[in-house]
C-alpha cells in the first residue's frame, strides 16, 4: 500500500504531472505578461504546451561529433532531479516525502538540471556549445553565493525559535516556524534576504537579463545548439519546471504559514503566490532589461545580493 501512495506522489500530485502542467502554464503566463508589457497581444497561455508537443513530433538529429548516449541521457537526468525536488517542497505543512527534507539537499538537487544542460551541451561537441557551457558555469557560480547566504540566514532564524537555538536546515521546521510566527517576510531582519532571493531567481531560472548561456543572438542558443526534436522538448520542459519549482521553494521559505487543511486548497494558494512571485521577479525584469555580459553578471551577483544577504545574516545573528 505504501508503495502505491508513493507512486501516486511521484506521478501525480507533487510529482510529474502536477509540475508538468503547473510549470508550463506558469511559463505561458510569463510570456503573456512580457508581451502585454510591450503592448502586444502575445502568444496564447497554452503556447508552451504547443511548443512542447510540436518538438515531440519533430525528428531528432544526433550530430556525428556528439557522444550519442550522453547526448540523449542528459535532458532526462535533468528532468528526474527537477521532479525529485518537487516532491520535497512542502506545500503548507504537507510534504510528499515527510522525510526531513533539507535545504542544502535542495540546493544540490537544483544544480543537477544546470549540470545536465552543461553535460548535454558539451556532449554535442559544437564550439558554440563550448562557449555556452563556460558561461552557464559562471552563472551557476555567481548565483550560488547569495543563494547560500540567504538560506543560511533563513535556517538560523527558523532554528533559533523552533529547535532550541540549533540551526535548522529542514524545510518542514521552517514552515512550522512560519506557522507560529507568521510568514518570514514580516520579520524585518529577513527583508534583505528576501530581496537577495528575488534577485537570484532570474539567474537561477535563466531568464532574460541573465540568460547569457542560451543567448539566441550571439552564440545561437549556447548548449542547446545541436538539440532538436525530443531532447530539446525535454530541455524546454526543464526550463519551465525550474521556474515553477524555484518560485514554490521561494514561497515556502518566505511566505508560507499554516494554510488551510485541505491539500488541494493549499496547493491553489501556493500556486497563486508562485505566480505573483514569478511576475514580480522574472517577467518584470525580463521585459525591461537587456542581456548582460558574463563578468558584469558575476560582478553584479557578488556585490549587491550578497551584501543584502550578509546584512540579513548579521541581523539574524544578533538575534533580532
Amino acid at each position: 500500500m505504501l508503495i502505491l501512495k508513493y507512486l501516486f506522489y511521484i506521478f501525480v500530485f507533487p510529482g510529474f504531472l502536477f509540475c508538468f502542467f503547473a510549470g508550463l502554464i506558469l511559463a505561458g503566463i510569463d510570456r503573456k505578461i512580457v508581451a502585454r508589457m510591450q503592448k502586444r497581444i502575445g502568444p496564447p497561455i497554452l503556447q508552451p504546451f504547443y511548443d512542447f508537443f510540436k518538438l515531440m513530433g519533430k525528428e531528432t538529429i544526433i550530430p556525428n561529433s556528439a557522444a550519442k548516449r550522453t547526448f540523449i541521457a542528459a535532458p532526462v537526468a535533468g528532468l528526474i532531479s527537477l521532479v525529485t525536488i518537487s516532491l520535497f517542497i512542502p506545500i503548507f505543512k504537507f510534504s510528499a516525502f515527510n522525510a526531513v527534507a533539507d535545504v542544502i539537499v535542495i540546493i544540490y538537487l537544483l544544480t543537477i538540471p544546470a549540470v545536465s544542460l552543461i553535460i548535454g551541451g558539451s556532449s554535442s561537441g559544437s564550439p558554440y556549445a563550448g562557449v555556452g557551457i563556460s558561461r552557464e558555469m559562471v552563472s551557476i557560480v555567481s548565483y550560488e553565493l547569495p543563494l547560500i547566504i540567504a538560506l543560511l540566514a533563513v535556517g538560523k532564524k527558523a532554528g533559533m525559535a523552533v529547535n532550541d537555538g540549533m540551526v535548522t536546515f529542514s524545510l518542514s521546521k521552517i514552515v512550522e516556524y512560519q506557522s507560529l510566527k507568521g510568514p518570514m517576510l514580516f520579520h524585518w531582519s529577513m527583508i534583505p534576504a528576501f530581496l537577495a532571493m528575488l534577485f537570484v531567481i532570474p539567474c537561477e531560472v535563466g531568464s532574460l537579463p541573465f540568460d547569457i548561456a542560451e543567448a539566441e543572438v550571439e552564440i545561437c542558443e549556447g548548449p542547446l545548439v545541436e538539440y532538436s526534436g525530443f531532447p530539446l522538448g525535454i530541455y524546454k520542459l526543464n526550463y519551465a519546471l525550474k521556474i515553477f519549482i524555484f518560485s514554490s521553494l521561494f514561497v515556502t521559505l518566505f511566505l508560507s504559514g499554516n494554510g488551510t487543511g485541505i491539500i488541494l486548497f493549499d496547493a491553489a494558494i501556493q500556486y497563486v503566490l508562485c505566480i505573483i512571485v514569478v511576475i514580480l521577479s522574472v517577467s518584470l525584469i525580463r521585459a525591461v532589461t537587456a542581456r548582460l555580459r558574463v563578468e558584469q553578471m558575476l560582478k553584479f551577483y557578488w556585490t549587491y545580493p550578497t551584501a543584502l544577504s550578509i546584512l540579513s545574516l548579521i541581523l539574524v545573528w544578533l538575534g533580532l
Binding site: 508581451a35 510591450q38 503592448k39 502586444r40 497581444i41 502575445g42 502568444p43 496564447p44 503556447q47 504546451f49 504547443y50 511548443d51 512542447f52 508537443f53 510540436k54 515531440m56 513530433g57 519533430k58 525528428e59 531528432t60 538529429i61 558554440y128 543567448a215 539566441e216 543572438v217 552564440i219 545561437c220 542558443e221 542547446l224 545548439v225 545541436e226 538539440y227 532538436s228 526534436g229 530539446l232
Partner: protein, 147 residues
C-alpha cells in the same frame, strides 16, 4: 490521442530561422519588423530561433550568391524534417536586379525545393505574415503525409 495533439501543435507553434543569402537587408528588416509589437507575429506562435536545428520554417532572403550558395545548402540540410522553405522577397525567387551579375548564377529553387514565395522588393510585414501562414499550412500536411 497524442497524435491529434501533435498535429494541432504543429500548426500552433512554428519556429522560424532566417538566412541572409547576400540580401540588401531591406527584407531582413521587414522580416524582423513582423515580430515587433505593431505586427506581433508571436501571437500565432512564431518565434525566431538561433540554430537551424530548432527551426521548422526557414526564411531565405537575398539572391543566392556564389559565395553564400554552399552555406545556404548546408544550413538548410541541417534542419530536421518536416521543414518548409520560404523565399522572402523577389531576390531569391528571380534574382531581382542582381540577376545577371557574375556571382548570382541561379535562383534559390535551383538548389533547394522552395515551398512559399513572398514576392515584393521588401514585402510589407502583413504580406510576410500571410506567407508564413501559408507555410504553416504546408508544414501541417507535410507532417501528415510522411507520417
Amino acid at each position: 490521442m497524442f497524435k491529434k495533439i501533435i498535429e494541432k501543435s504543429f500548426e500552433k507553434s512554428p519556429w522560424l530561422f532566417h538566412i541572409n543569402a547576400g540580401s540588401c537587408n531591406a527584407c531582413d528588416i521587414e522580416f524582423v519588423a513582423t515580430l515587433t509589437p505593431r505586427y506581433d507575429a508571436e501571437r500565432f506562435g512564431f518565434k525566431l530561433t538561433g540554430t537551424p536545428r530548432h527551426a521548422d520554417i526557414i526564411v531565405v532572403s537575398g539572391p543566392v550568391t556564389e559565395q553564400s550558395k554552399d552555406r545556404v545548402i548546408r544550413t538548410i540540410a541541417q534542419v530536421p524534417n518536416p521543414k518548409v522553405i520560404v523565399a522572402l522577397g523577389s531576390c531569391p525567387a528571380s534574382g531581382n536586379i542582381f540577376a545577371g551579375s557574375y556571382s548570382v548564377l541561379h535562383t534559390l529553387d535551383y538548389y533547394v525545393p522552395v515551398d512559399v514565395y513572398v514576392p515584393g522588393c521588401s514585402p510589407k510585414p502583413e504580406a510576410i505574415i500571410d506567407g508564413l501562414y501559408k507555410a504553416v499550412e504546408i508544414l501541417k500536411n507535410k507532417r501528415r503525409d510522411n507520417k
